[in-house]
């Protein structure tokens, strides 16, 4: 579904992504682990097109999308949520979801008719609101809801474009352990055919969701395998205990 081939990114002398090759099958749920500064978010930015790689390629559903801009990749079914909430702050939860859904249905660029009132958009909004547990907050403004709800909306907005692949950058960043647990249940309830790539900080929580695990360190893939293998991996322990614990 989503594949990278020898993806490389340098900022001047700094080599932030080194020869990353990943392959996600349809419906696969993969968690990316790694210490701070391992290049996880950079990898996301390369995947969605917010950065262009120094070399290597990105394939979506078998087609090379490396040269496509962000918006075109998104329309082909690649969606992402951000580590730091990137929402439409002055608008309501419903409008946030509606704007995203309208882009997917095409109503968002039409001059005739209110996109937010179109039946297709309303249907998607209701469905996504259900999926990310936002029903009680639909008419509240983003500024009026709690941080945890905003994190749900962050994922909801990404889901409202009905993506094939959803990239989530630390969806539980900044929420307490209780809520994070709930969040992972929410992720587990998402449709099984949706391919998920998730950056996660907390290893134990990551194991709740992951089919497969990739570990990045210094921009390089140092582990790629099943959660059970990861749990026992010496290398992983070293990275986490060695560099993460002091950070």
């Amino acid at each position: 579904m989503l594949e990278t081939r020898n993806l490389d990114k340098r900022f001047g002398a700094v080599h932030v992504t080194r020869n990353v090759s990943l392959k996600l099958e349809r419906g696969e749920r993969r968690v990316i682990l790694g210490p701070n500064g391992a290049g996880k978010t950079t990898l996301f930015n390369l995947l969605v097109g917010e950065l262009t790689p120094s070399s290597g390629s990105v394939l979506l559903a078998g087609e090379d999308v490396t040269a496509l801009p962000v918006a075109k990749r998104a329309r082909r079914g690649l969606s992402r949520s951000y580590q730091k909430n990137t929402l439409f702050d002055g608008l309501t939860v419903e409008e946030n979801l509606g704007l995203a859904a309208a882009i997917h249905t095409g109503a968002g660029t039409r001059l005739w008719g209110d996109s937010l009132a179109s039946p297709e958009v309303r249907e998607i909004v209701a469905e996504v609101a259900e999926q990310v547990r936002l029903m009680p907050y639909l008419h509240a403004k983003v500024s009026e809801v709690s941080y945890g709800v905003r994190r749900q909306l962050e994922v909801g907005v990404a889901l409202a474009t009905r993506p094939l692949v959803l990239l989530m950058d630390e969806p539980t960043s900044g929420v307490g352990p209780e809520m994070a647990k709930g969040f992972h249940e929410l992720l587990n309830d998402l449709p099984r055919d949706l391919t998920l790539l998730i950056i996660e900080h907390d290893m134990d929580l990551a194991f709740d969701v992951a089919d497969t695990i990739t570990v990045l360190n210094y921009g390089e893939v140092v582990f790629d395998g099943l959660p059970e293998e990861a749990r026992g991996s010496k290398l992983l322990k070293e990275i986490y205990l060695g560099s993460w614990e002091d950070a």
């Binding site: 962000v70 918006a71 329309r75 109503a107 968002g108 660029t109 001059l111 008719g113 907005v157």
Partner: protein, 334 residues
Amino acid sequence: MFQHSALRYTALILLAVGAFAQAVTAGYFGLEVLTEILLLAMLVLALDMVAGFGGMVSLCHGALMGVGAYAYAILTTKAGLAPPVALGGSIAVTGAAAWVIGAIGARAHGIYFIMATLAFGQMAYSYVFEAPFFGGDDGMGGIPRIDLSLIGLDLNDSRSFALFCLALLGAAYGAAVLILRSGLGRSLTGVMHNEQRMRALGLTVWRVKADVFGLSGMIAGLAGALAAQHVMYISPGLLAWTVSGEALVVVILGGLGTLVGPMIGAAAFVILKHEVSNVTSHWHLVVGVLLIAVVMSRANGLFGWIEARWGARLERRLSDMTRKSDAEEITTDA
């Protein structure tokens, strides 16, 4: 997101009734002032569409209005087109020009967007100023008004012309509301709130910006074509950046992003200008101090201030009233 509130409807009705009453009763001078207000209102309506709902603070809307005026003048006096055709043509030409400016400027933000639009506006101004074809510094005269004698209106009469402008302002307002409520308008508001996210969701941001800027330009072009008919003479001064600056001031004084507010601002601005000019020649000092005071007060202009103060109260009272009438119905039912 654009929405009509009870307060906005009230203000709209008051504005429409006031303008209509003025159009029916005023003498020659009053009608001139009214037409001036109506045309400025149309320009600031166009500007508020992009500035208030798209964050595209344009300093070329005055120039766009000028383009509309010159297009109308050229199409009628030089190309010999019938005035209604020329009106349509001038709207199309201005819309196209605005679309191009919007497309090129789409990448620029904040002060850079302001500068980019300023550059395009000044480019048009300098070109018209220099080119003999456009009459240069002397401008162009002999511009005909549209002939509506078929429906019994003589637009050469100032009262009929004022009513004509009022009707077209109403139409322009309706168009602006429809545009802002359309998918395109909603997406533009999304872009204003968070451009990066809209792009990440798959929106071709520059197209949306250019499209709405073009539509806004069409309204500015209509205002220009009417302004050319109003004075029947045009000069390059119409395109100067200070006209755009003044339009922006009116939008801010009225209330950015409220659509109704800038129109109230236009009325207040023109009336105040005439009143102050009777007393002193230092009109600019008054506007300058007023602008500074409004911006420093942090209110969203005159109408924004009214909305913040009374909008919620009015809504509550209205909902109380409907609830009460519902309650009465229930009791009578019982």
